[in-house]
């Protein structure tokens, strides 16, 4: 990729580079390109804001799973039986 194309990037590249940035792996040209793009692209700014918000809510969802789901009583019964067999061995 030419230096010009590295610095004047399009939205597909910008949203990809945002991911690479989070892993701390951007080189200087990519970093500059992403920074410039975000200055003028409100779609990409919204994208970053919204996906960060969704990651935070997904994290909360995983952490609070226990109060949301339960094993079906039938499956629990089957599991209990199978496990009792195993305990006797």
């Amino acid at each position: 990729m030419s230096l010009f194309n590295k610095i004047f990037i399009q939205c597909k590249e910008a949203t990809y580079l945002h991911e690479k940035k989070r892993a701390g792996k951007l080189d200087a040209a990519e970093s500059l390109g992403l920074w410039i793009h975000m200055l003028y692209c409100s779609f990409c700014r919204q994208f970053v804001k919204q996906v960060e918000f969704l990651e935070a809510t997904a994290h909360k969802f995983y952490q609070t799973a226990e109060k949301r789901f339960h094993l079906s009583p039938t499956r629990k019964g089957e599991m209990q039986k199978a496990f009792e067999q195993e305990l006797k061995k």
Partner: protein
């Protein structure tokens, strides 16, 4: 008085099966798989009971075993179909759905470009309805995308550790995470924010 924890396998199912199932089902959106992993966890724990460290609780120990099984599940999904690995510049229907596919530009289309979410919707995100929709959207992610997204957000694994666990290259991780977020954001945009 002893503060040590002890193992009581005969009570495991009654005490922990609901919690372990919920933990798994939130992270893997397939009920049958989640049930099987929970059962496997109890069996594995029983076999490994001599390795139990008496300074952690039974539940913490069982969750640690289960977590390994969830990671193993996603590793198998990530390494299947080696041919189906995308390059960041791959132009396929998935990418063309989000970005203009006329061969000249890779910008958002007017229809796909993210616009601001209503603040009053953001304040209701703690509701059960929100989490139901979020789960549906997470459940629609293809498994390779679900693998990176779930492992990144379920615990405090960083991207290097996830690549190691899933046995994938960093570039593949970024490609999959990029796609996961494009799809998840759009799904929530449509189904929760009502656009």
């Amino acid at each position: 008085m002893s503060s040590e924890f002890k193992l009581e396998p005969e009570k495991w199912i009654e005490r922990y099966s609901d919690a372990l199932f919920a933990y798994t089902f939130a992270r893997i959106n397939r009920q049958d798989v989640a049930e099987d992993l929970v059962q496997d966890t109890f069996f594995s724990a029983l076999k490994a009971k001599d390795t139990f460290q008496f300074n952690s609780s039974e539940k913490t120990w069982l969750i640690a075993i289960l977590k390994r099984k969830i990671i193993d599940y996603y590793r198998k999904k990530s390494t299947q179909n080696e041919l189906n690995i995308f390059d960041k510049d791959t132009k396929d229907d998935f990418m063309n759905h989000f970005f203009e596919a006329d061969g000249r530009t890779d910008h958002w289309t007017d229809a796909s470009g993210p616009t601001e979410w209503r603040k009053d919707f953001e304040t209701k995100v703690e509701s059960d309805e929100f989490f139901t929709i979020l789960k549906n959207c997470l459940g629609k992610l293809p498994e390779k995308m679900a693998a990176v997204f779930t492992l990144k957000n379920m615990e405090d694994l960083d991207s290097d550790e996830i690549c190691k666990e899933l046995q994938i290259a960093p570039s593949n991780y970024w490609v999959m995470m990029h796609r996961a977020k494009l799809q998840l954001r759009e799904c929530m945009d449509i189904n929760w924010f009502g656009k």
